[in-house]
Protein backbone atom coordinates (compact mmCIF):
# COMPACT_ATOMS: atom_id res chain seq x y z
CA UNK A 1 0.00 0.00 0.00
CA UNK A 2 1.32 3.42 -0.82
CA UNK A 3 -0.28 5.70 1.68
CA UNK A 4 1.19 9.18 1.49
CA UNK A 5 0.84 9.80 5.22
CA UNK A 6 2.81 6.68 6.19
CA UNK A 7 5.45 7.51 8.80
CA UNK A 8 8.75 5.66 9.29
CA UNK A 9 8.94 2.27 7.65
CA UNK A 10 9.42 -0.75 9.88
CA UNK A 11 11.32 -3.93 9.07
CA UNK A 12 7.97 -5.65 8.66
CA UNK A 13 6.61 -3.13 6.17
CA UNK A 14 9.86 -3.34 4.21
CA UNK A 15 9.68 -7.15 4.13
CA UNK A 16 6.10 -6.85 2.89
CA UNK A 17 7.08 -4.38 0.13
CA UNK A 18 9.95 -6.58 -1.04
CA UNK A 19 7.88 -9.74 -0.79
CA UNK A 20 5.05 -8.25 -2.79
CA UNK A 21 7.35 -7.19 -5.64
CA UNK A 22 9.07 -10.56 -5.62
CA UNK A 23 5.71 -12.36 -5.67
CA UNK A 24 4.79 -10.42 -8.81
CA UNK A 25 8.11 -11.41 -10.37
CA UNK A 26 7.63 -15.05 -9.40
CA UNK A 27 4.18 -15.05 -11.00
CA UNK A 28 5.64 -13.68 -14.24
CA UNK A 29 8.44 -16.25 -14.42
CA UNK A 30 6.96 -19.20 -16.28
CA UNK A 31 9.88 -21.53 -15.61
CA UNK A 32 9.74 -20.87 -11.90
CA UNK A 33 5.98 -21.29 -11.79
CA UNK A 34 6.23 -24.59 -13.64
CA UNK A 35 9.03 -25.89 -11.44
CA UNK A 36 7.28 -24.80 -8.28
CA UNK A 37 3.80 -26.06 -9.10
CA UNK A 38 4.29 -29.13 -11.27
CA UNK A 39 7.62 -30.73 -10.49
CA UNK A 40 7.07 -31.53 -6.79
CA UNK A 41 3.82 -33.32 -7.54
CA UNK A 42 5.27 -35.13 -10.51
CA UNK A 43 7.94 -36.38 -8.12
CA UNK A 44 5.40 -37.82 -5.71
CA UNK A 45 4.61 -40.56 -8.21
CA UNK A 46 8.18 -41.70 -8.71
CA UNK A 47 8.92 -41.23 -5.04
CA UNK A 48 6.18 -43.70 -4.20
CA UNK A 49 7.68 -46.53 -6.21
CA UNK A 50 11.15 -45.81 -4.80
CA UNK A 51 9.84 -45.90 -1.25
CA UNK A 52 7.88 -49.12 -1.93
CA UNK A 53 11.07 -50.78 -3.10
CA UNK A 54 12.85 -49.59 0.05
CA UNK A 55 10.00 -50.90 2.23
CA UNK A 56 10.58 -54.44 0.93
CA UNK A 57 13.81 -54.77 2.89
CA UNK A 58 12.89 -52.39 5.72
CA UNK A 59 10.35 -54.06 7.94
CA UNK A 60 7.78 -51.80 9.56
CA UNK A 61 8.36 -48.87 7.21
CA UNK A 62 5.30 -46.67 6.66
CA UNK A 63 5.35 -46.05 2.89
CA UNK A 64 2.52 -43.53 2.79
CA UNK A 65 3.77 -41.62 5.81
CA UNK A 66 7.26 -41.44 4.34
CA UNK A 67 5.78 -40.39 1.03
CA UNK A 68 4.14 -37.29 2.51
CA UNK A 69 7.09 -36.14 4.62
CA UNK A 70 9.58 -36.87 1.80
CA UNK A 71 7.43 -34.93 -0.66
CA UNK A 72 7.43 -31.98 1.69
CA UNK A 73 11.21 -32.16 1.74
CA UNK A 74 11.38 -32.23 -2.06
CA UNK A 75 8.97 -29.28 -2.29
CA UNK A 76 11.10 -27.26 0.12
CA UNK A 77 14.26 -28.10 -1.83
CA UNK A 78 12.85 -27.23 -5.24
CA UNK A 79 10.68 -24.25 -4.35
CA UNK A 80 12.86 -22.65 -1.69
CA UNK A 81 16.40 -23.75 -2.44
CA UNK A 82 16.71 -23.92 -6.25
CA UNK A 83 14.17 -21.20 -6.89
CA UNK A 84 15.85 -18.76 -4.54
CA UNK A 85 19.35 -19.54 -5.80
CA UNK A 86 18.10 -18.47 -9.23
CA UNK A 87 16.21 -15.44 -7.89
CA UNK A 88 19.18 -14.12 -5.87
CA UNK A 89 21.47 -14.59 -8.88
CA UNK A 90 19.04 -12.86 -11.24
CA UNK A 91 18.52 -9.89 -8.89
CA UNK A 92 22.25 -9.54 -8.38
CA UNK A 93 23.00 -9.59 -12.11
CA UNK A 94 20.25 -7.04 -12.79
CA UNK A 95 21.97 -4.86 -10.14
CA UNK A 96 18.70 -4.89 -8.22
CA UNK A 97 20.39 -5.99 -5.00
CA UNK A 98 23.00 -3.26 -5.33
CA UNK A 99 20.27 -0.67 -5.81
CA UNK A 100 18.21 -2.01 -2.89
CA UNK A 101 21.22 -1.62 -0.62
CA UNK A 102 21.16 2.14 -1.21
CA UNK A 103 17.76 2.28 0.47
CA UNK A 104 16.56 1.84 4.03
CA UNK A 105 16.25 -1.95 3.98
CA UNK A 106 18.92 -3.85 5.90
CA UNK A 107 20.85 -6.65 4.18
CA UNK A 108 18.96 -9.42 5.97
CA UNK A 109 15.64 -7.77 5.10
CA UNK A 110 16.55 -7.71 1.41
CA UNK A 111 17.40 -11.42 1.41
CA UNK A 112 14.40 -12.44 3.51
CA UNK A 113 11.96 -10.21 1.64
CA UNK A 114 13.10 -11.74 -1.64
CA UNK A 115 12.66 -15.21 -0.14
CA UNK A 116 9.22 -14.52 1.25
CA UNK A 117 7.03 -15.59 -1.72
CA UNK A 118 9.04 -18.76 -2.34
CA UNK A 119 8.81 -19.78 1.30
CA UNK A 120 5.09 -19.00 1.40
CA UNK A 121 4.50 -21.01 -1.77
CA UNK A 122 6.46 -23.99 -0.42
CA UNK A 123 4.59 -23.94 2.88
CA UNK A 124 1.28 -23.75 1.04
CA UNK A 125 2.23 -26.81 -0.98
CA UNK A 126 3.28 -28.64 2.17
CA UNK A 127 -0.17 -27.88 3.58
CA UNK A 128 -1.73 -29.27 0.40
CA UNK A 129 0.40 -32.41 0.74
CA UNK A 130 -0.62 -32.81 4.36
CA UNK A 131 -4.32 -32.37 3.66
CA UNK A 132 -4.14 -34.49 0.50
CA UNK A 133 -2.13 -37.17 2.29
CA UNK A 134 -4.56 -37.32 5.17
CA UNK A 135 -7.54 -37.51 2.83
CA UNK A 136 -6.24 -39.86 0.14
CA UNK A 137 -3.65 -42.00 1.91
CA UNK A 138 -5.42 -42.57 5.20
CA UNK A 139 -2.58 -41.05 7.19
CA UNK A 140 -2.66 -40.64 10.93
CA UNK A 141 -2.71 -37.03 12.14
CA UNK A 142 0.79 -35.77 13.04
CA UNK A 143 2.05 -37.18 16.32
CA UNK A 144 3.66 -33.86 17.27
CA UNK A 145 2.51 -30.92 15.11
CA UNK A 146 4.92 -28.58 16.90
CA UNK A 147 7.86 -30.60 15.63
CA UNK A 148 6.42 -30.55 12.10
CA UNK A 149 6.13 -26.76 12.28
CA UNK A 150 9.65 -26.47 13.71
CA UNK A 151 10.92 -28.71 10.91
CA UNK A 152 9.20 -26.58 8.26
CA UNK A 153 10.47 -23.29 9.75
CA UNK A 154 14.03 -24.51 10.22
CA UNK A 155 14.10 -26.08 6.74
CA UNK A 156 12.86 -22.85 5.16
CA UNK A 157 15.42 -20.75 7.01
CA UNK A 158 18.26 -23.17 6.32
CA UNK A 159 17.43 -23.55 2.62
CA UNK A 160 17.11 -19.76 2.20
CA UNK A 161 20.56 -19.27 3.66
CA UNK A 162 21.96 -22.13 1.57
CA UNK A 163 20.37 -20.58 -1.54
CA UNK A 164 22.12 -17.30 -0.77
CA UNK A 165 25.39 -19.19 -0.37
CA UNK A 166 24.91 -21.14 -3.60
CA UNK A 167 24.09 -17.97 -5.49
CA UNK A 168 27.40 -16.52 -4.31
CA UNK A 169 29.14 -19.06 -6.56
CA UNK A 170 26.55 -18.87 -9.35
CA UNK A 171 27.53 -16.61 -12.22
CA UNK A 172 24.28 -16.62 -14.16
CA UNK A 173 20.72 -17.85 -13.99
CA UNK A 174 21.63 -20.47 -16.61
CA UNK A 175 24.29 -22.09 -14.42
CA UNK A 176 22.11 -22.21 -11.29
CA UNK A 177 21.05 -25.73 -12.28
CA UNK A 178 24.64 -26.86 -11.94
CA UNK A 179 25.55 -25.05 -8.75
CA UNK A 180 22.46 -26.32 -6.94
CA UNK A 181 22.98 -29.91 -8.05
CA UNK A 182 25.41 -31.09 -5.32
CA UNK A 183 23.14 -30.06 -2.49
CA UNK A 184 20.03 -31.31 -4.26
CA UNK A 185 21.59 -34.77 -4.71
CA UNK A 186 23.03 -34.88 -1.21
CA UNK A 187 19.68 -33.88 0.29
CA UNK A 188 17.58 -36.27 -1.79
CA UNK A 189 19.78 -39.30 -1.28
CA UNK A 190 21.37 -38.48 2.08
CA UNK A 191 18.61 -36.80 4.03
CA UNK A 192 16.08 -39.60 3.98
CA UNK A 193 13.93 -38.33 1.14
CA UNK A 194 14.57 -41.00 -1.53
CA UNK A 195 16.25 -43.56 0.68
CA UNK A 196 14.87 -43.74 4.22
CA UNK A 197 17.70 -43.48 6.72
CA UNK A 198 16.47 -46.62 8.52
CA UNK A 199 17.02 -48.65 5.35
CA UNK A 200 20.72 -47.70 5.30
CA UNK A 201 23.55 -49.46 7.15
CA UNK A 202 23.87 -47.83 10.58
CA UNK A 203 27.27 -46.23 9.96
CA UNK A 204 26.11 -44.62 6.71
CA UNK A 205 22.86 -43.48 8.31
CA UNK A 206 24.77 -41.87 11.20
CA UNK A 207 26.93 -39.99 8.73
CA UNK A 208 23.88 -38.87 6.76
CA UNK A 209 22.25 -37.57 9.94
CA UNK A 210 25.05 -34.98 10.12
CA UNK A 211 24.40 -33.55 6.64
CA UNK A 212 23.15 -29.94 6.75
CA UNK A 213 19.69 -30.72 5.41
CA UNK A 214 19.06 -33.97 7.30
CA UNK A 215 18.19 -32.77 10.84
CA UNK A 216 15.57 -30.23 9.75
CA UNK A 217 13.93 -32.70 7.35
CA UNK A 218 14.07 -35.43 10.01
CA UNK A 219 11.97 -33.22 12.27
CA UNK A 220 9.13 -33.40 9.73
CA UNK A 221 9.42 -37.16 9.78
CA UNK A 222 9.60 -37.55 13.54
CA UNK A 223 6.91 -34.95 14.13
CA UNK A 224 4.44 -36.55 11.76
CA UNK A 225 5.11 -40.27 12.15
CA UNK A 226 6.11 -40.11 15.82
CA UNK A 227 9.32 -42.07 15.25
CA UNK A 228 12.71 -41.66 13.64
CA UNK A 229 12.05 -44.99 11.95
CA UNK A 230 13.80 -47.17 14.53
CA UNK A 231 10.64 -48.03 16.41
CA UNK A 232 6.88 -47.56 16.58
CA UNK A 233 5.24 -44.17 17.03
CA UNK A 234 6.03 -42.75 20.45
CA UNK A 235 3.14 -40.26 20.61
CA UNK A 236 3.33 -36.53 21.35
CA UNK A 237 5.32 -36.72 24.60
CA UNK A 238 7.56 -39.51 23.37
CA UNK A 239 8.74 -37.69 20.26
CA UNK A 240 10.74 -35.02 22.09
CA UNK A 241 13.43 -37.51 23.04
CA UNK A 242 14.37 -38.69 19.51
CA UNK A 243 13.77 -35.14 18.22
CA UNK A 244 16.13 -33.43 20.66
CA UNK A 245 19.35 -34.03 18.76
CA UNK A 246 17.93 -33.25 15.27
CA UNK A 247 16.33 -30.10 16.69
CA UNK A 248 19.66 -28.96 18.09
CA UNK A 249 21.56 -29.88 14.92
CA UNK A 250 18.98 -28.25 12.65
CA UNK A 251 19.17 -25.00 14.62
CA UNK A 252 22.97 -25.16 14.54
CA UNK A 253 23.06 -25.75 10.77
CA UNK A 254 20.54 -22.96 10.13
CA UNK A 255 22.56 -20.58 12.29
CA UNK A 256 25.83 -21.57 10.61
CA UNK A 257 24.32 -21.21 7.13
CA UNK A 258 22.87 -17.78 7.98
CA UNK A 259 26.25 -16.67 9.31
CA UNK A 260 28.06 -17.99 6.23
CA UNK A 261 25.51 -16.36 3.90
CA UNK A 262 26.03 -13.04 5.65
CA UNK A 263 29.79 -13.48 5.36
CA UNK A 264 30.04 -14.67 1.73
CA UNK A 265 26.97 -13.44 -0.07
CA UNK A 266 27.80 -11.34 -3.14
CA UNK A 267 25.71 -8.21 -3.68
CA UNK A 268 27.20 -7.25 -7.03
CA UNK A 269 28.26 -9.24 -10.08
CA UNK A 270 31.95 -9.97 -10.45
CA UNK A 271 33.66 -7.53 -12.77
Amino acid sequence: MTTAAAPARTPLSRLAALGRAEATLLRRNRTAVFLALVLPFALVGSLRSILRAAAEHTPGMDVNGNLVTSSMGVVLLVVVYTNLTTAYTARRNELVLKRLRTGEAADAEILLGTAFPSIALALLQCLLLAVGGAALLDLRTPANPLLVLAGLALSALLLTALAALSSAVTKSVETAGITTLPLMLAAQFGSGLMIPLESMPDSVADLCRLLPTTPALQLLHIGWLGTDGTGPSAGFAGTWGPAALPLLLAAAWAGAAAWAARRWFRWEPRR
Partner: protein, 329 residues
Protein backbone atom coordinates in the same frame (compact mmCIF):
# COMPACT_ATOMS: atom_id res chain seq x y z
CA UNK B 1 37.38 26.64 4.47
CA UNK B 2 35.77 25.95 7.85
CA UNK B 3 34.37 29.15 9.26
CA UNK B 4 32.64 29.17 12.63
CA UNK B 5 29.90 31.49 11.35
CA UNK B 6 28.88 28.96 8.73
CA UNK B 7 26.60 26.05 9.55
CA UNK B 8 28.10 22.62 9.77
CA UNK B 9 28.64 21.13 6.29
CA UNK B 10 25.95 18.75 5.06
CA UNK B 11 28.69 16.50 3.71
CA UNK B 12 32.27 16.45 4.90
CA UNK B 13 35.24 14.22 4.30
CA UNK B 14 38.68 14.43 5.86
CA UNK B 15 41.75 12.60 4.60
CA UNK B 16 39.61 10.05 2.79
CA UNK B 17 41.34 7.00 1.36
CA UNK B 18 39.77 4.06 -0.37
CA UNK B 19 41.74 1.04 -1.28
CA UNK B 20 40.75 -2.03 -3.31
CA UNK B 21 42.52 -5.31 -2.74
CA UNK B 22 45.53 -5.96 -0.52
CA UNK B 23 48.06 -3.38 0.58
CA UNK B 24 51.13 -3.09 -1.58
CA UNK B 25 51.49 -3.39 -5.32
CA UNK B 26 48.60 -5.85 -5.68
CA UNK B 27 46.03 -3.40 -4.37
CA UNK B 28 44.77 -0.21 -5.90
CA UNK B 29 44.18 3.02 -4.08
CA UNK B 30 41.27 4.75 -5.84
CA UNK B 31 40.94 7.65 -3.40
CA UNK B 32 44.10 9.14 -1.92
CA UNK B 33 43.53 11.65 0.82
CA UNK B 34 40.46 13.58 -0.20
CA UNK B 35 39.01 16.52 1.75
CA UNK B 36 35.54 17.75 0.96
CA UNK B 37 32.99 20.17 2.40
CA UNK B 38 29.53 20.64 0.99
CA UNK B 39 27.41 23.32 2.67
CA UNK B 40 23.72 22.71 3.33
CA UNK B 41 21.67 23.57 0.27
CA UNK B 42 24.71 23.65 -1.96
CA UNK B 43 25.07 21.89 -5.28
CA UNK B 44 28.49 20.34 -5.44
CA UNK B 45 29.92 18.69 -8.54
CA UNK B 46 32.72 16.16 -8.52
CA UNK B 47 34.44 16.18 -11.88
CA UNK B 48 37.07 13.91 -13.30
CA UNK B 49 38.01 11.56 -16.08
CA UNK B 50 37.01 7.91 -15.92
CA UNK B 51 38.96 6.25 -13.14
CA UNK B 52 39.65 9.50 -11.28
CA UNK B 53 37.92 8.10 -8.19
CA UNK B 54 34.57 9.92 -8.35
CA UNK B 55 32.33 6.89 -7.88
CA UNK B 56 34.68 5.39 -5.29
CA UNK B 57 34.41 8.63 -3.32
CA UNK B 58 30.66 8.83 -3.69
CA UNK B 59 30.18 5.24 -2.48
CA UNK B 60 32.02 6.09 0.73
CA UNK B 61 29.96 9.26 1.24
CA UNK B 62 26.78 7.22 0.69
CA UNK B 63 27.89 4.57 3.17
CA UNK B 64 27.92 1.77 0.59
CA UNK B 65 31.60 1.21 1.28
CA UNK B 66 33.88 2.07 4.18
CA UNK B 67 36.94 4.26 3.80
CA UNK B 68 40.29 2.54 4.31
CA UNK B 69 41.34 5.71 6.15
CA UNK B 70 39.80 9.07 6.96
CA UNK B 71 36.54 10.45 8.28
CA UNK B 72 33.17 10.99 6.62
CA UNK B 73 30.12 12.79 7.97
CA UNK B 74 26.80 13.33 6.25
CA UNK B 75 24.35 15.56 8.13
CA UNK B 76 26.73 15.09 11.05
CA UNK B 77 26.29 11.31 11.00
CA UNK B 78 28.59 8.45 10.08
CA UNK B 79 27.17 6.96 6.87
CA UNK B 80 27.91 3.40 7.97
CA UNK B 81 27.59 3.41 11.77
CA UNK B 82 24.48 5.62 11.72
CA UNK B 83 23.06 4.04 8.59
CA UNK B 84 19.55 3.48 9.98
CA UNK B 85 19.23 7.12 11.07
CA UNK B 86 20.81 8.58 7.95
CA UNK B 87 19.32 6.58 5.08
CA UNK B 88 15.78 8.00 5.46
CA UNK B 89 17.27 11.48 5.02
CA UNK B 90 19.35 10.90 1.88
CA UNK B 91 18.62 9.85 -1.69
CA UNK B 92 21.02 7.88 -3.85
CA UNK B 93 21.18 7.39 -7.59
CA UNK B 94 23.87 4.96 -8.67
CA UNK B 95 25.79 5.22 -11.90
CA UNK B 96 24.22 1.95 -12.88
CA UNK B 97 21.16 1.10 -10.86
CA UNK B 98 18.98 -1.93 -11.22
CA UNK B 99 15.28 -2.52 -11.19
CA UNK B 100 13.70 -5.86 -12.06
CA UNK B 101 12.87 -5.88 -15.77
CA UNK B 102 9.56 -7.68 -15.32
CA UNK B 103 7.99 -5.11 -12.98
CA UNK B 104 6.11 -2.10 -14.30
CA UNK B 105 7.18 1.39 -13.30
CA UNK B 106 4.21 1.69 -10.96
CA UNK B 107 5.06 -1.66 -9.32
CA UNK B 108 8.69 -0.64 -8.97
CA UNK B 109 7.60 2.62 -7.39
CA UNK B 110 5.22 0.86 -5.01
CA UNK B 111 8.01 -1.45 -3.85
CA UNK B 112 10.40 1.46 -3.30
CA UNK B 113 7.73 3.51 -1.56
CA UNK B 114 7.35 0.60 0.86
CA UNK B 115 11.08 0.85 1.59
CA UNK B 116 11.19 4.62 1.95
CA UNK B 117 10.21 6.70 4.96
CA UNK B 118 7.88 9.56 4.11
CA UNK B 119 7.64 8.54 0.47
CA UNK B 120 5.84 10.77 -1.99
CA UNK B 121 2.99 9.31 -4.02
CA UNK B 122 4.51 7.08 -6.69
CA UNK B 123 2.74 8.91 -9.51
CA UNK B 124 4.09 12.23 -8.24
CA UNK B 125 7.64 10.88 -8.32
CA UNK B 126 7.18 9.45 -11.82
CA UNK B 127 5.69 12.76 -12.95
CA UNK B 128 8.75 14.66 -11.71
CA UNK B 129 10.90 12.86 -14.28
CA UNK B 130 8.26 12.79 -17.00
CA UNK B 131 7.60 9.05 -16.77
CA UNK B 132 4.00 9.17 -15.58
CA UNK B 133 2.60 8.23 -19.02
CA UNK B 134 4.81 5.11 -18.89
CA UNK B 135 3.64 3.90 -15.47
CA UNK B 136 2.18 0.60 -16.73
CA UNK B 137 5.17 -0.23 -18.93
CA UNK B 138 7.63 -2.88 -17.78
CA UNK B 139 11.10 -1.68 -16.84
CA UNK B 140 12.74 -3.92 -19.46
CA UNK B 141 10.95 -1.94 -22.18
CA UNK B 142 12.44 1.39 -21.13
CA UNK B 143 15.21 3.08 -23.08
CA UNK B 144 18.53 3.71 -21.35
CA UNK B 145 17.61 7.33 -20.73
CA UNK B 146 14.22 6.40 -19.30
CA UNK B 147 15.90 3.99 -16.91
CA UNK B 148 18.14 6.78 -15.66
CA UNK B 149 15.08 8.92 -15.05
CA UNK B 150 13.34 6.09 -13.18
CA UNK B 151 16.45 5.75 -11.05
CA UNK B 152 16.32 9.48 -10.31
CA UNK B 153 12.62 9.27 -9.45
CA UNK B 154 13.32 6.52 -6.91
CA UNK B 155 16.14 8.60 -5.41
CA UNK B 156 13.70 11.49 -4.98
CA UNK B 157 10.91 9.35 -3.52
CA UNK B 158 11.68 10.15 0.11
CA UNK B 159 12.20 13.92 -0.39
CA UNK B 160 15.84 13.59 0.70
CA UNK B 161 17.76 16.37 2.45
CA UNK B 162 20.94 15.25 0.71
CA UNK B 163 20.90 13.79 -2.77
CA UNK B 164 23.81 11.84 -4.24
CA UNK B 165 23.72 11.55 -8.02
CA UNK B 166 26.35 9.52 -9.83
CA UNK B 167 26.40 10.79 -13.43
CA UNK B 168 22.68 11.64 -13.47
CA UNK B 169 22.52 12.71 -17.10
CA UNK B 170 24.75 10.11 -18.74
CA UNK B 171 22.85 8.45 -21.57
CA UNK B 172 20.12 11.09 -21.76
CA UNK B 173 19.17 12.81 -24.98
CA UNK B 174 19.54 16.62 -24.97
CA UNK B 175 15.88 17.21 -24.20
CA UNK B 176 15.81 14.78 -21.29
CA UNK B 177 19.06 16.23 -20.01
CA UNK B 178 17.63 19.73 -20.04
CA UNK B 179 14.61 18.57 -18.06
CA UNK B 180 16.78 16.71 -15.55
CA UNK B 181 18.87 19.86 -15.12
CA UNK B 182 15.69 21.85 -14.54
CA UNK B 183 14.58 19.30 -11.94
CA UNK B 184 17.92 19.38 -10.15
CA UNK B 185 17.80 23.21 -10.06
CA UNK B 186 14.31 23.08 -8.57
CA UNK B 187 15.45 20.64 -5.89
CA UNK B 188 18.36 22.88 -5.05
CA UNK B 189 16.06 25.92 -4.92
CA UNK B 190 13.90 23.98 -2.45
CA UNK B 191 16.94 23.55 -0.20
CA UNK B 192 18.17 20.07 -1.13
CA UNK B 193 21.91 19.54 -0.86
CA UNK B 194 23.11 17.85 -4.03
CA UNK B 195 26.40 16.06 -4.63
CA UNK B 196 26.77 14.91 -8.21
CA UNK B 197 29.52 13.44 -10.31
CA UNK B 198 29.76 14.16 -13.97
CA UNK B 199 32.17 14.24 -16.82
CA UNK B 200 30.00 16.69 -18.71
CA UNK B 201 31.71 19.98 -18.07
CA UNK B 202 28.76 22.08 -19.13
CA UNK B 203 26.70 20.21 -16.56
CA UNK B 204 28.99 21.35 -13.76
CA UNK B 205 29.22 24.85 -15.21
CA UNK B 206 25.44 25.00 -15.54
CA UNK B 207 24.45 23.58 -12.16
CA UNK B 208 27.22 23.63 -9.61
CA UNK B 209 27.73 26.20 -6.87
CA UNK B 210 31.10 24.67 -6.24
CA UNK B 211 33.07 21.90 -7.82
CA UNK B 212 36.16 19.82 -7.40
CA UNK B 213 38.18 18.28 -10.18
CA UNK B 214 39.59 14.88 -9.24
CA UNK B 215 42.57 13.21 -10.76
CA UNK B 216 44.16 9.94 -9.65
CA UNK B 217 42.16 9.89 -6.43
CA UNK B 218 42.90 13.45 -5.36
CA UNK B 219 41.19 16.82 -5.67
CA UNK B 220 43.44 18.83 -7.94
CA UNK B 221 41.36 21.97 -8.34
CA UNK B 222 38.33 23.13 -6.46
CA UNK B 223 36.14 26.08 -5.64
CA UNK B 224 33.34 28.01 -7.28
CA UNK B 225 33.14 27.82 -11.05
CA UNK B 226 34.49 31.40 -11.20
CA UNK B 227 37.38 30.55 -8.92
CA UNK B 228 38.36 27.52 -10.94
CA UNK B 229 38.14 29.50 -14.16
CA UNK B 230 40.16 32.38 -12.74
CA UNK B 231 43.10 30.04 -12.39
CA UNK B 232 43.01 29.37 -16.10
CA UNK B 233 43.75 31.89 -18.88
CA UNK B 234 41.54 32.88 -21.78
CA UNK B 235 42.74 32.10 -25.28
CA UNK B 236 43.08 34.13 -28.47
CA UNK B 237 44.07 32.38 -31.65
CA UNK B 238 44.73 33.79 -35.15
CA UNK B 239 46.94 33.42 -38.20
CA UNK B 240 49.39 36.05 -39.34
CA UNK B 241 49.82 36.80 -43.04
CA UNK B 242 52.87 35.62 -45.01
CA UNK B 243 55.88 37.65 -44.01
CA UNK B 244 56.44 39.32 -47.33
CA UNK B 245 56.62 42.92 -48.42
CA UNK B 246 55.30 45.33 -45.84
CA UNK B 247 54.80 42.49 -43.35
CA UNK B 248 58.37 41.24 -43.45
CA UNK B 249 59.54 43.03 -40.33
CA UNK B 250 56.28 42.90 -38.45
CA UNK B 251 56.36 42.47 -34.70
CA UNK B 252 53.55 41.81 -32.29
CA UNK B 253 53.22 44.52 -29.66
CA UNK B 254 54.27 43.63 -26.12
CA UNK B 255 51.02 42.20 -24.74
CA UNK B 256 50.99 42.45 -20.98
CA UNK B 257 50.75 39.25 -18.99
CA UNK B 258 50.29 37.19 -22.12
CA UNK B 259 52.07 34.09 -23.21
CA UNK B 260 52.47 33.46 -26.89
CA UNK B 261 52.59 30.15 -28.61
CA UNK B 262 53.52 29.68 -32.22
CA UNK B 263 52.68 26.91 -34.62
CA UNK B 264 53.76 27.93 -38.10
CA UNK B 265 51.75 31.05 -38.83
CA UNK B 266 49.19 30.22 -36.16
CA UNK B 267 49.57 32.29 -33.00
CA UNK B 268 48.00 31.30 -29.70
CA UNK B 269 47.83 33.86 -26.91
CA UNK B 270 46.94 32.98 -23.35
CA UNK B 271 45.84 35.88 -21.25
CA UNK B 272 44.20 36.49 -17.90
CA UNK B 273 42.65 39.68 -19.34
CA UNK B 274 40.78 38.76 -22.50
CA UNK B 275 39.24 42.16 -23.23
CA UNK B 276 42.43 44.16 -22.65
CA UNK B 277 44.62 41.85 -24.68
CA UNK B 278 42.08 41.65 -27.48
CA UNK B 279 41.77 45.47 -27.62
CA UNK B 280 45.53 45.84 -27.87
CA UNK B 281 45.78 43.16 -30.50
CA UNK B 282 43.01 44.53 -32.68
CA UNK B 283 44.38 48.09 -32.38
CA UNK B 284 47.76 46.85 -33.48
CA UNK B 285 46.25 44.95 -36.39
CA UNK B 286 44.26 48.00 -37.50
CA UNK B 287 47.28 50.28 -37.31
CA UNK B 288 49.38 47.92 -39.41
CA UNK B 289 46.50 46.84 -41.65
CA UNK B 290 47.13 43.22 -40.79
CA UNK B 291 44.42 40.72 -41.41
CA UNK B 292 44.15 38.26 -38.53
CA UNK B 293 42.87 35.20 -40.28
CA UNK B 294 40.72 32.67 -38.40
CA UNK B 295 40.56 34.93 -35.39
CA UNK B 296 39.10 33.17 -32.40
CA UNK B 297 38.81 34.48 -28.85
CA UNK B 298 37.55 32.35 -26.01
CA UNK B 299 37.20 33.03 -22.32
CA UNK B 300 38.41 30.36 -19.95
CA UNK B 301 36.15 27.35 -19.89
CA UNK B 302 35.86 24.51 -17.49
CA UNK B 303 36.89 22.33 -20.38
CA UNK B 304 40.30 23.95 -20.48
CA UNK B 305 40.68 23.67 -16.75
CA UNK B 306 39.66 20.06 -17.00
CA UNK B 307 41.97 19.23 -19.87
CA UNK B 308 44.84 20.94 -18.10
CA UNK B 309 44.18 18.74 -15.07
CA UNK B 310 43.79 15.62 -17.14
CA UNK B 311 47.04 16.29 -18.98
CA UNK B 312 48.98 16.25 -15.74
CA UNK B 313 48.20 16.08 -12.08
CA UNK B 314 49.57 19.57 -11.49
CA UNK B 315 47.96 22.61 -13.13
CA UNK B 316 49.93 23.31 -16.29
CA UNK B 317 51.72 26.55 -16.89
CA UNK B 318 52.48 27.11 -20.55
CA UNK B 319 56.13 27.87 -21.14
CA UNK B 320 56.65 31.60 -21.60
CA UNK B 321 57.52 32.59 -25.14
CA UNK B 322 58.86 35.95 -26.26
CA UNK B 323 56.12 38.24 -27.51
CA UNK B 324 58.02 38.85 -30.66
CA UNK B 325 57.87 36.98 -33.87
CA UNK B 326 61.37 36.24 -34.98
CA UNK B 327 62.70 34.81 -38.17
CA UNK B 328 62.18 31.31 -36.89
CA UNK B 329 58.49 31.69 -37.44
Amino acid sequence: MTDTSRPRPAVEARGLHRRYGPSGANGFEAVRGLDLDVAPGELFALLGTNGAGKTSTLEVLEGLAGPSAGEVRVLGLDPRRDRAALRPRIGIMLQEGGFPGELTLAETGRCWAGLTTGARAVDEALDLVGLLPRRTVRVKQLSGGERRRLDLAMALLGRPEVLFLDEPSTGLDPEARASVWRLIRELRAAGTTVVLTTHYLEEAEELADRLAIMHHGRVVTGGTVAEVLAAHPARIGFELPERTGAHAALELPPLHGTTVGLDGRRVLLRTPDLQGTLTELLGWAARHQVELARLDARSASLEEAFLAVAASAAPTAAPAAPSQIGRAA
